[in-house]
Subunit: 459 residues, 2 copies
């Protein structure tokens, strides 16, 4: 598996890498990225401990890398706020996902800003400041893993952790022009993560390079008994993509809500994918988008109330509560359980339709987002703009799919454009292999004759 052989692009020593990171933090001047940032001296001390381990012969796959962690994931020594100062607590230990990376030699610099309680895709729903896009600061960074995405996109850290329920680990990747891996639900333990929708939440990773992102995702994965939704890698899971993958591509006419010129960017991405020898196959995106709408319009949002509703609706929360987050989670209180039951049935029907659409496909390709809103646009219509940003991401966890968001050039209006490869649960290596062919710098893919029989078929 490529994850273990990927290059990390690590610096020669962890200490040098930390110094460079703090220099860059000063340079970029984006204080809203961080909710807590380690004092440089402390980070240097941690780096020296890594260098000592390496010197003593330890083989640390992440030695020489620095990373940031979204502030709804526990890291020992930092408070966890989930974007609300009144909610803050000091965790006794790091989330298992984080602990595995520290063990592997990565140095954590701090905790990043997010849409409060991971409820949003914009990056502006936070009392710690609206997170500006890395490249076009009048625009949103995307969220909810806002600070993590920007910290990577600006080259401050080598990688950063996010979480993803509706698209929070993919939308910021698209705007930042970086890679975002959203593993299959249950592969990376969510113990020590403040739940958004407990049954759908994933820990994700952002990195500039796919190789490092795969390495990190691989290191974080693995059953943890403290995570009630932890799932083992099934024996029949495909270990990689077939030589000539079949990837579903929607008719451009089915792509709703795309800004002017963005469909052209998508078509260019499809062409580039086809040029690598991937067979592109038309599929209908309708059931995917319809399921996506259920995530916020249906009763699934009740899971958010179950997770943090008691706090959000308490008087002590009022002062720093984001009004959109307050409305979404507060309104979820009154949803009836029988609607959750019937929405689950509707979702089952849509999943069956989607499965039908994916028959014979190794993955589907979609735009990650269809526009890049300004901060002003979000201020004017905070719910509407946010909803639009989830069009192509919301369905993923509801359908139990793995996804990777990858950069795909720029649009005519100068925005970073991103596409997402998605496939059924445990196809993580399939989509990563296909993403690898697609990305610049990938070894030139050879178009195989269509008669070549795929070695692995997605179940």
């Amino acid at each position: 598996m490529n994850v273990t052989t990927a290059t990390t692009g690590a610096a020669e020593s962890a200490e040098d890498r930390v110094r460079a990171a703090y220099a860059r933090i000063g340079e970029v001047d984006r204080p809203e990225v961080w909710i807590s940032l380690l004092d440089e001296e402390e980070a240097l001390a941690a780096a020296r401990r890594v260098d000592e381990r390496t010197a003593s012969g330890a083989d640390l796959p992440l030695a020489g890398t620095v990373f940031a962690v979204k502030d709804n994931i526990d890291v020992a020594g930092f408070t966890t706020t989930a974007g609300h100062p009144g909610y803050a607590y000091g965790p006794k230990e790091s989330a298992p996902a984080v602990a595995r990376l520290l063990d592997a030699g990565a140095v954590v610099l701090g905790k990043t800003n997010l849409d409060q309680f991971a409820t949003g895709l914009v990056g502006t729903r936070s009392p710690y400041g609206k997170v500006r896009d890395a490249h076009r600061p009048d625009r949103v960074s995307g969220g909810s893993s806002a600070g993590s995405g920007v910290a990577v996109a600006l080259g401050v850290v080598d990688f950063a952790l996010g979480t993803d329920t509706a698209g929070s680990g993919r939308v910021p990747a698209a705007f930042g022009g970086i890679v975002g891996i959203k593993p299959t639900v249950g592969l990376v333990p969510t113990t020590g993560v403040v739940p958004a929708c407990r049954t759908l939440d994933c820990v994700t990773v952002f990195a500039a390079e796919l190789g490092l992102a795969r390495l990190v995702a691989g290191l974080m994965s693995g059953v943890d008994d403290s995570d009630l939704r932890s799932r083992p890698w099934p024996v029949q899971a495909p270990l990689g993509a077939p030589p000539r993958p079949r990837v579903g591509v929607p008719d451009p006419a089915e792509l709703v809500g795309m800004a002017p010129g963005w469909v052209t960017a998508f078509e260019a991405a499809v062409k580039r994918l086809a040029d690598t020898g991937v067979e592109t196959v038309p599929f209908h995106v309708k059931p995917f988008l319809e399921a996506g709408r259920l995530l916020y319009e249906g009763a699934f949002v009740a899971e958010r109330y179950a997770a943090v509703g008691a706090f959000v609706t308490s008087p002590e929360a009022a002062e720093d509560l984001d009004p959109s987050v307050a409305a979404i989670i507060g309104n979820a209180r009154g949803l009836p359980a029988h609607q959750l039951a019937s929405d689950t049935e509707r979702l089952d029907r849509l999943r069956a339709e989607a499965r039908e659409e994916m028959t014979g496909l190794d993955a589907v390709l979609l735009p990650t987002v269809g526009e890049h809103p300004t901060i002003t646009e979000v201020e004017r219509d905070p719910i509407g703009v946010n909803t639009r940003l989830g069009t192509y991401t919301n369905f993923c966890n509801l359908f139990d799919m793995a996804a990777i968001a990858v950069p795909a050039g720029e649009t005519a209006d100068g925005a970073k454009f991103g596409v997402t490869l998605a496939a059924p649960a445990f196809s993580d290596h399939v989509i990563a292999d296909i993403a690898e062919r697609f990305l610049p710098g990938a070894p030139g893919a050879v178009a195989l004759p269509p008669s070549v029989v795929p070695l692995v078929v997605v179940g």
Copy 2:
């Protein structure tokens, strides 16, 4: 697999078998068993068609058998009432589970009485009459698959179909002194079944003999795309029990709500099981019973409202509505979705505890029920008695377990006593093999030395 080699005990011709069945129907004089019963002439015509197929060389594994179907499962040519005349509809086709048995040569005689909308474990919640126990008519038959259980226990039919959400396919088996197989959720399609709790419902089979019950369960099983919850048999599923199965047995002190003398009957069953060479191992039943209480006390009952709530709370339903059923389903309307979310989390925690208890076990053994109430007792306390009857059955589908209820002699007070073998999803053949050793007439099991390594381990 034994299911395909089991003997059916079938009559020489289907026609003879049907005649004998109608003679027996007259003899037993239990009109409350049936909601619809085929005219004898029509049944004979169906039987002759089976005999003709056999004569033309068709190999029909169920030729010469007759069966009954619970009236919440569609059979073409019969109305489906689910126990309420106002709800009745005429299905266009038979449920796939039924169609597979008709294809295999079984002749269906009619549709059986049930606790309305499969909401109950007593067998008395029906405008079609309270179903009396086969052996002790002052007692309840058990439900909700009441008529199906009694039709088998009285020897009217060879087998009968039930459904099971909370224990409806097991409790009537216990009182009837017969076998009840509740397959893993998703193995037998539930298309054409009126939902109780859609995500938990199973089609079950009652028979006097385990061999026939296994044969029928096997024939009904198999993915059907029209069932959104259909599941394929996983590649790593165990195909049978190891030579020396390890079966968890609770400390008698943990067995709550057992009538006087019933613990003694359970202890005798444990001894009998151990005598077959099964290794009995203590386990704690607490998380199982706690999860069971969630089924009706928690928000899962909202699935019942989602399924039939609109009808149950409509004016047209009022006349024939059972008051207990009306209260249970009607009250479910007001349950909040966030409670369903938090109950699901609580269930996840209990499932983890239960998994821990089952580590290294091939199955667990429990009493199926702990008492046999009279009809008068149920009339006095319809909810309380019903709740008690689910003590040892409710957890099963919530924990995604397969179960088989088997007869285990009689109690000192003259009741049939039954035990249930339960094991994680897809262990259906494991528990059936263990049940086979346990039942009278099983080939004498040889106690193997404990050093023998099991060939198959339950995942």
